[in-house]
């Protein structure tokens, strides 16, 4: 059985006094120990929502309406608060998008690290400090002893993201959820941070859920991919398979828009149109208005995720072109 097993997850937000709109429309997710999974989609597809829902941190007025999240055999949605807190930040850690906003500006880095340890272990200040400085060293922060007493604003964005990663690693988690960990950083630093995350996950056999809008990033880091569109998974399979032979028109669209896949002088192939908001989804397949392969049935029926060999695709006209083994 997988370490983390999400089934039929629905997250709803109120629309007006009585209605609700779904930000996640029945999402499944599996993660084995030490496995690295990429969750890809445009902004608003519900990727971050999925990350927060896994930790049961959907903030009001949103709520988890249906589904289950099993971690190590227990459903996180029915656990008492004290026990879920014992998993949050301890066995499942999270890395946020913008390191400039993630750290509390009025607390030293040391305090923000030690409090994390003390929330999950019986540990004294001196020992917690020692362990924190060790982790700061592991994420390649120069002079970790002096950084321990720094305030966040005294560090650059790249260093701050390293601190956030160090905090995530403090308690030796089994899973790290990284929500666009490099998007807010300078291009030159992005690759460094990504390499750091990959190395740490590999070395410590930590499972990784990497959330990103950039297929280029996940290709180098993850083993498996989940493509999301408008609150649903549209395709899921091994990273290599999906990148070499996309099965869903949306996956192909995302790939075609990647700069590194376009030959010099060619124009970038952006997918026409924009993703619908959760309150005004079209009937049928949510992607059909932008899909070049849409047929009449796509306007009426919602496709389900179906197995095609080792992968699963939610499309009436998948691109299988005999590439499937």
């Amino acid at each position: 059985m997988a370490l983390l097993e999400v089934r039929g997850l629905e997250v709803a937000f109120p629309q007006g006094p009585r209605d609700e709109a779904l930000a996640l429309r029945g999402v499944d997710l599996d993660l084995d120990p030490g496995e690295r999974l990429g969750v890809v989609g445009e902004s608003g597809a519900g990727k971050s929502m999925l990350a927060f829902a896994i930790l049961n941190l959907i903030s009001e007025p949103g709520r988890i309406r249906a589904g289950s999240i099993r971690f190590d055999g227990r459903n996180l949605l029915t656990l008492p608060p004290a026990e879920i807190r014992n998993i949050r930040g301890n066995r499942i850690a999270m890395i946020f998008q913008d390191p400039m906003m993630t750290l509390n500006p009025v607390l030293t880095i040391g305090r923000q690290m030690v409090e994390t340890l003390q929330a999950h272990r019986r540990i004294g200040w001196a020992e917690a400090r020692k362990l924190s400085i060790e982790r700061l060293g592991q994420v390649a922060i120069p002079t970790p002893e002096s950084r321990f007493d720094s305030y966040p604003h005294e560090l650059s964005g790249g260093l701050r993201q390293r601190v956030v990663i160090a905090i995530a690693l403090l308690t030796d988690p089994e899973i790290i959820i990284a929500d666009e960990p490099t998007t807010a950083l300078d291009v030159t630093i992005q690759a460094e941070i990504m390499a750091l995350i990959l190395r740490l996950c590999r070395d410590h056999r930590v499972g990784l859920i990497l959330i990103t809008h950039d297929l280029g990033v996940v290709a180098e880091v993850t083993e498996r991919l989940m493509i999301m569109y408008a609150g649903k998974v549209v395709e899921e399979g091994s990273t290599r398979q999906l990148i070499e032979h996309p099965g869903h028109p949306y996956t192909r669209g995302l790939l075609a828009a990647l700069p590194q896949r376009v030959a010099r002088g060619q124009t970038l192939n952006q997918i026409p149109g924009t993703m619908p908001g959760i309150a005004d989804l079209p009937a049928g397949c949510a992607y059909h208005p932008r899909c070049e392969r849409a047929i009449a049935g796509c306007h009426i029926n919602i496709p389900v995720l179906e197995a095609h060999g080792s992968r699963r695709i939610s499309c009436f006209r998948p691109l299988l072109a005999g590439a499937e083994a």
């Binding site: 927060f52 930790l55 941190l57 903030s59 009001e60 807190r85 014992n86 998993i87 949050r88 930040g89 301890n90 850690a93 999270m94 946020f96 998008q97 913008d98 906003m101 993630t102 750290l103 509390n104 500006p105 009025v106 607390l107 030293t108 409090e115 994390t116 929330a119 999950h120 305030y151 604003h153 005294e154 560090l155 650059s156 956030v164 905090i167």
Partner: protein
């Protein structure tokens, strides 16, 4: 070192503000009646008056007179009260403890009620108690302070007769001349209704302020991260969210000092509380110009001192101000 530079800059600003207040104070004195009227009777001839004016320097140019006024003021001489026939500064300073203790009592009440109230309304915005507090706060904001005071007197002093209705009651004079009402039962009893009145108007203001800032802080990324780290709710609320809420609350709260002083005038009038505000109104009625000016200058001074303290506190609790230009 940075803190010293900050202090010096702040002190410089304070001096400038005080200078401006003193110019305003002096211009008012210049407009408000003729000191001769108080000194000499009707029988003195116009020629003698003119001679007296010359001798007293009242015919000197504005700035010469102002500098003389400023020199005297720096030496603690703000003129002599027409009514009390005593130095104006002395009269005011004798009234200061009463006002200070009133403000202290009220501040104690509204701070100890608004912090838990504001935090509660922010973390449980949908609870019926929070809705009740918020509805109550807009009603509270709509009741002028003098009405609260009158109603309290009417109910507790006139109808029920359980509370004193005016004055400070029994006071004790401390060795350095400070008359306090804190040390006697009677003095404390007299303090209750005035403090409640003054606190009642500040309370809804601060509850709304703390709630709004706290809600803002609770929606920040670093608070979400604190939750994601698995911290206990109390730690997230009080260490992560409330500390950051304090920053704007201290700034905006510090700006209320002027309002608070204005409200003491109203409270003291209703309760005939023998403080500076009550004295000021009496001075206005008697056209006791030196006392009016002295009040304006002393209040200006209090205002400047409190603002400097607020800035200092802000600096102390905000690490980003304390270390400007630190390596990044």
């Amino acid at each position: 070192m940075h803190i010293l530079a900050f202090l010096i800059r702040r002190l410089f600003q304070a001096v400038i503000v005080m200078l401006i207040i003193s110019i305003i104070g002096f211009s008012i004195q210049d407009q408000l009646g003729d000191p001769l009227r108080e000194l000499v009777g009707q029988s003195v001839s116009e020629a003698e008056r003119e001679a007296l004016r010359d001798r007293m320097g009242l015919n000197d140019p504005f700035w010469t007179q102002y500098l003389r006024f400023l020199g005297n003021a720096l030496g603690g001489d703000l003129g002599t009260s027409y009514f009390f026939k005593k130095p104006a500064l002395e009269v005011i300073l004798a009234k200061f403890p009463a006002t200070f203790e009133l403000v202290l009592g009220a501040t104690f009440l509204f701070v100890s009620a608004s912090i838990p109230g504001g935090i509660y309304c922010a973390i449980r915005p949908r609870a019926w108690l929070a809705r009740f507090i918020m509805a109550g706060s807009i009603i509270g904001l709509s009741i002028p302070i003098f009405l609260t005071a009158i109603f309290l007197i009417w109910i507790f002093a006139v109808e029920l007769g359980v509370m004193p209705s005016f004055g400070r009651g029994e006071t004790v004079t401390l060795p350095w001349g400070w008359r306090t009402g804190f040390l006697t039962r009677d003095g404390l009893l007299h303090l209750v209704l005035p403090s409640i009145s003054l606190a009642a108007i500040m309370l809804p203001l601060f509850i709304r302020l703390i709630r709004a800032e706290m809600i803002e802080t609770l929606s920040t990324e670093y608070v979400r991260f604190a939750w994601a780290k698995g911290l206990a709710a109390r730690r997230v609320w009080f260490v992560h969210a409330f500390r950051n809420t304090l920053l704007p609350v201290v700034t905006v709260g510090g700006l209320q000092i002027g309002t608070l002083i204005a409200y003491t005038i109203l409270t003291e009038t209703v309760f005939q509380w023998p403080g500076m505000g009550f004295m000021f109104l009496e001075a206005v009625k008697r056209v006791d110009t030196p006392l009016i000016i002295a009040y304006i200058i002393v209040v200006g001074m209090i205002f400047v001192i409190v603002n400097t303290i607020v800035d200092l506190v802000y600096t102390l609790i905000n690490p980003m101000v304390k270390l400007p230009g630190a390596q990044g």
